[in-house]
């Protein structure tokens, strides 16, 4: 497989995968359980989901390690197993997709607000990211995917951690923005311009946005990112915001709708288009067909 950054530099558009959480729930993950527990107890489930996304046409397949930082695992009393949990997440995807898709090692927020706003000690949170990312890299991840960040300071800690312990791996860093009257900001107050600059300065190779309010809004977010960065951009939207339908909650954006938005994302210069909450292998298949 050619290197990810070479392909992006050559102007290729790549497809990410979709949501993992919902697929894990339908395969026995219980509410209240850490989603990463399954990495150790039933890795075959991870293989199945990785296969579904690979088969749907994903060029990048995400690992089930979003909550795999020790700060987050501690809430479940699992922090001592940080290495095993993250290693297993990568190994499962590699067994299925290794050499055929990039194994994108997910790193989510620590779950703590940094001091002085919360109880998170930056040095400790940063060291936790290093511990998680070292395990992901040693297990053979192809890139580090720092995602769903709302605090730019925490995102920068994660990017620096990746640069420090996995200097050979490309780093993708995406944040979640909401629309305000003054433009797009994270709930902690980071603008797209600040995110583009500071994530880039910290060493992110790919920047962008994930989660949020759906794919149409993401087109605007992508355009604003383009104005402030020359780096490749990644956009992985939710399938809209969930709506109740007959006792269940459903994400409203269909694969067809998202595929149309994906074309606009590519026109805005996005290099990696995937999905976040509420997206399925069907969404990925539609993205693949739309983007080619």
């Amino acid at each position: 497989m050619r290197s990810l950054l070479e392909r992006l530099a050559a102007g290729e558009v790549l497809i990410g995968d979709g949501a993992w959480g919902t697929l894990l729930m339908t395969r026995g993950l219980k509410p209240g359980e850490a989603p990463e527990v399954i990495n150790l107890s039933r890795p075959e489930v991870l293989e199945e989901i990785a296969w579904l996304y690979l088969e749907a046409g994903a060029d990048l397949v995400t690992t089930n390690s979003f909550g795999g930082s020790p700060a987050r695992l501690r809430r479940y009393g699992l922090d001592a197993q940080t290495e095993a949990i993250n290693r297993a997440a990568v190994e499962a995807v590699r067994r299925v997709a290794g050499g055929r898709a990039y194994v994108s090692a997910s790193v989510g927020p620590s779950g703590h607000l940094l001091k002085p706003y919360g109880d998170g000690d930056p040095a400790e949170i940063g060291a936790g990211f290093e511990r998680q990312i070292r395990a992901l890299a040693e297990a053979g991840a192809d890139l580090v995917c720092i995602e769903t960040m709302i605090d730019l300071a925490e995102a920068v800690l994660a990017v620096r951690a990746a640069r420090a312990v996995a200097p050979a791996l490309p780093v993708m860093a995406t944040m979640t923005f909401e629309r305000t009257r003054r433009g797009f900001f994270t709930v902690m107050g980071a603008s797209i311009e600040q995110a583009a600059r500071e994530l880039g300065e910290a060493g992110a190779d790919i920047v962008g946005s994930n989660c949020g309010n759906g794919s149409a809004v993401m087109v605007e977010i992508a355009r604003e990112f383009r104005a402030h960065t020359g780096r490749p951009m990644a956009i992985q939207p939710n399938a809209g915001l969930p709506e109740p339908r007959g006792g269940e909650t459903v994400y409203p954006e269909t694969p067809e709708f998202m595929a149309e938005q994906a074309k606009a994302l590519v026109r805005a210069g996005v290099a990696i288009v995937g999905g976040c909450c509420g997206t399925t292998p069907e969404h990925v298949r539609a993205l693949r067909a739309a983007v080619g």
Partner: protein, 213 residues
């Protein structure tokens, strides 16, 4: 400037370390504790809440203002209790079982306290029964439920059902909130209200308490 306006302004400006001193000053000037609460702390937090709703300010600004508010409240609470001043109402709050997200719930707790409510925050990952037990035990008239995951939203219905099963419907109202939670969902599970953001949650809780009085 009027000392009470000064207190409100210090919260709005994020000068959290000035608030306690100003509250002490107001007490020395013989301002009534309830006035200091209503026209100082609550007035200031109302503005902070509104500015956050419009995203003229962001979460860190609210958290700093909250720190000032708590410092002021700590001084006023014993005085209000001594004078027998009732709170705006008592509410039990938490993120439902299975949900560890608490940033939004914490924000609602801050805004409710800043609006003069007596808030019992049960934290995150709270089972249905604990909400209802706590409401009964502490005489709360409102239960606030937060969920950030579509997978944990059904726990909200368990709480509503349990309130009914214990014959508390009408006396204990349930308000729900969180990114995936909507007005339609609230209706569907039989909750009494939905708060679409922290400031709105305060308005809805005020209305629930007023309707129940």
């Amino acid at each position: 400037m009027d000392i009470l306006k000064e207190i409100a302004a210090s919260l709005e400006r994020g000068e959290d370390d000035r608030v306690a001193g100003l509250v002490r000053q107001a007490l020395e000037q013989r301002c009534a504790p309830l006035d200091i609460l209503n026209r100082g702390l609550i007035a200031g937090m109302d503005v902070v809440g509104e500015q956050f709703r419009k995203r003229e300010i962001f979460l860190p600004d609210v958290l700093i203002a909250a720190r000032g508010m708590y410092a002021g409240l700590d001084l006023l609470k014993p005085l209000l209790a001594r004078e027998g001043v009732p709170s705006a109402g008592r509410i039990v709050l938490g993120s439902v079982h299975g949900d560890l997200h608490d940033i939004g719930k914490n924000l609602v707790a801050i805004m409710l306290k800043g609006a003069g409510f007596d808030v019992l925050d049960l934290g995150a990952d709270v089972p249905a029964q604990r909400f209802v037990d706590a409401a009964q035990e502490h005489g709360a008239t409102v239960i606030g439920l937060s969920a950030l995951l579509t997978t944990t939203m059904p726990v909200m219905k368990e709480v509503v059902d349990l309130v009914r099963a214990r014959g508390l419907a009408g006396r204990v109202k349930v308000i729900v909130g969180g990114a995936p939670v909507s007005e339609a969902w609230a209706r569907e599970i039989g909750a009494d209200a939905h708060g679409y953001d922290a400031a709105n949650a305060v308005e809805r809780v005020r209305a629930l308490v007023a309707a129940g009085a």
